[in-house]
């Protein structure tokens, strides 16, 4: 364990969060059909209120700050907010659709924001596929130009792609595109429900037949996880970092244990310090208890528990019970376990296969 990993482990155990995701706005210039945001119509935080929130987050010791949305660059005061985040010595990540990033914006990002990473949503290798999801003509061309402008200035870019029925035949092309742009790419085979529990987005997720192909050797060249990894909950008992390693703040200032599990903890403008809320919140106490319970019960009692990437927030949205196994998690785990056992059999038969001992990186790690 290197010093960084040791620091992360200590903070997990102490439930001392090191990352925060701040949804600066739900305004967006795209109309993605599976967007999980659910604006309430309340007034979003103004510039000074965002500054106040950032100061409280910094005072709490949070290092990694993700500026997200909606589309964060839609805020006219985005660069003022990012400058304040810089002044407060956050390590900044920006999660964007890339539509507004031209040469001038890329220059400002490089000079004024200096993010350690830009994460950009890519939904297809071709304009037609990408724009069928974003529903904005020109969004693909803008994204590609934006990534080039960022890379030209040495900014690290990670493309993020939820695998859907619409783009699952273009994954290899997207990998080629990412390589050409000098960007990383992360494919996520799981589509999540909307924040209000609406499960319509799940209809767009890749089907079982594709998931079986995804976990076979067919996609070894584009898949980060070469061998399906297993869980290891011995060192850190919690199923994930919800309410522990990080938290999320919405555009109205509401604090949640994580971006997926939206049980309101408090409003950041109504508290004097995050430290007090973090210690005393009954919501967080419950969330942490549940997160520790899941590996001991739900996953232990499942024959595929060891291979399950379990999200308490999704379980809560889909079943009303954060500890209950939900269909997507079980199906994916079953396919991953089968793929693992096949690979292990090949390994036992003498085939040289690396990464057999790798374990899950927990969500929020």
């Amino acid at each position: 364990m290197n010093p960084y990993q040791a620091m992360i482990a200590r903070r997990w155990k102490a439930a001392a969060p090191y990352s925060a995701l701040f949804e600066l706005t739900y305004v967006c210039n795209h109309a993605c059909s599976f967007c999980y945001n659910c604006p309430t119509g309340e007034k979003e935080l103004g510039t000074e209120q965002v500054f106040e929130a950032l100061r409280k987050i910094a005072d709490f010791g949070v290092l990694f700050l993700t500026l997200s949305g909606g589309e964060p660059l839609c805020r006219k005061d985005f660069f003022a907010i990012a400058a304040e985040a810089r002044r407060l010595h956050f390590a900044i990540r920006v999660y964007t659709n890339g539509y507004l990033i031209d040469e001038a914006v890329a220059e400002r990002l490089a000079e004024e924001v200096r993010p350690f990473e830009m994460e950009i949503s890519l939904h297809g290798a071709r304009p037609g596929t990408h724009e069928a999801l974003t529903r904005v003509p020109g969004s693909f061309v803008n994204l590609v130009a934006g990534v080039r402008a960022l890379r030209k200035r040495g900014i690290k870019v990670l493309l993020k792609t939820p695998i859907t029925k619409m783009n699952m035949s273009e994954l290899r092309e997207m990998k080629v595109l990412a390589d050409d742009l000098g960007a990383g790419i992360h494919f996520d085979p799981v589509v999540t429900p909307k924040d209000d529990g609406d499960q319509e987005p799940l209809q767009m997720g890749a089907d079982e037949a594709f998931l079986k192909r995804w976990w076979s050797d067919e996609f070894l060249d584009v898949r980060e996880e070469k061998v399906p990894v297993r869980r290891d909950d011995r060192e850190i008992a919690a199923v994930c970092g919800t309410g522990r390693s990080g938290f999320a703040v919405d555009p109205y200032g509401n604090i949640y244990p994580c971006v997926q599990w939206r049980r309101k903890v408090a409003n950041i403008l109504e508290i004097s310090s995050l430290r007090d809320v973090w210690k005393g919140s009954p919501v967080l106490a419950e969330v942490r208890r549940v997160a520790e319970e899941i590996p001991r019960t739900t996953l232990k009692n499942s024959d595929v528990g060891e291979f399950t990437a379990f999200c308490a927030g999704v379980a809560w949205l889909q079943t009303g019970d954060p500890t209950r196994m939900y269909p997507q998690a079980e199906l994916t785990a079953r396919i991953r376990k089968k793929a693992y056992l096949e690979i292990r059999a090949r390994s036992d038969a003498g085939e040289a296969i690396g990464e057999m001992a790798n374990v899950f990186e927990k969500c929020g790690e």
């Binding site: 010093p3 090191y18 949070v62 290092l63 810089r86 010595h89 200096r114």
Partner: protein, 96 residues
């Protein structure tokens, strides 16, 4: 970003303003945007990092370290100089 500095630069060294950092249990974790370099410093290194605000030179920082950690001034200056050199090598310092 401005030009990087080294320990022999007559101007006081200063933390790279593009660095994100926090101190947890006495240890500073530093993240640089260029290549997303992450470094965790031990307690003494974290104290030196804290002092690298551009207002003190290496000698002045070494004097603080010598006093706080009860070590000889000469040894402190050598250690601080080496440490600042390493930070500069990793582009963690900048001229004010």
């Amino acid at each position: 970003m401005g030009e990087m500095t080294g320990p022999d630069d007559p101007r006081p060294p200063r933390r790279n303003p593009a660095a994100g950092f926090r101190v947890f249990e006495g240890e500073a974790t530093i993240v640089l945007p260029d290549g997303s370099y992450i470094q965790v410093l031990n307690e003494t290194g974290s104290r030196i990092w804290d002092l690298l605000d551009g207002s003190r030179g290496v000698k002045a920082i070494a004097a603080v370290i010598a006093e706080e950690y009860d070590i000889a001034a000469e040894a402190a200056e050598r250690d601080v100089r080496e440490f600042v050199e390493e930070l500069a090598r990793h582009r963690m310092l900048e001229r004010p």
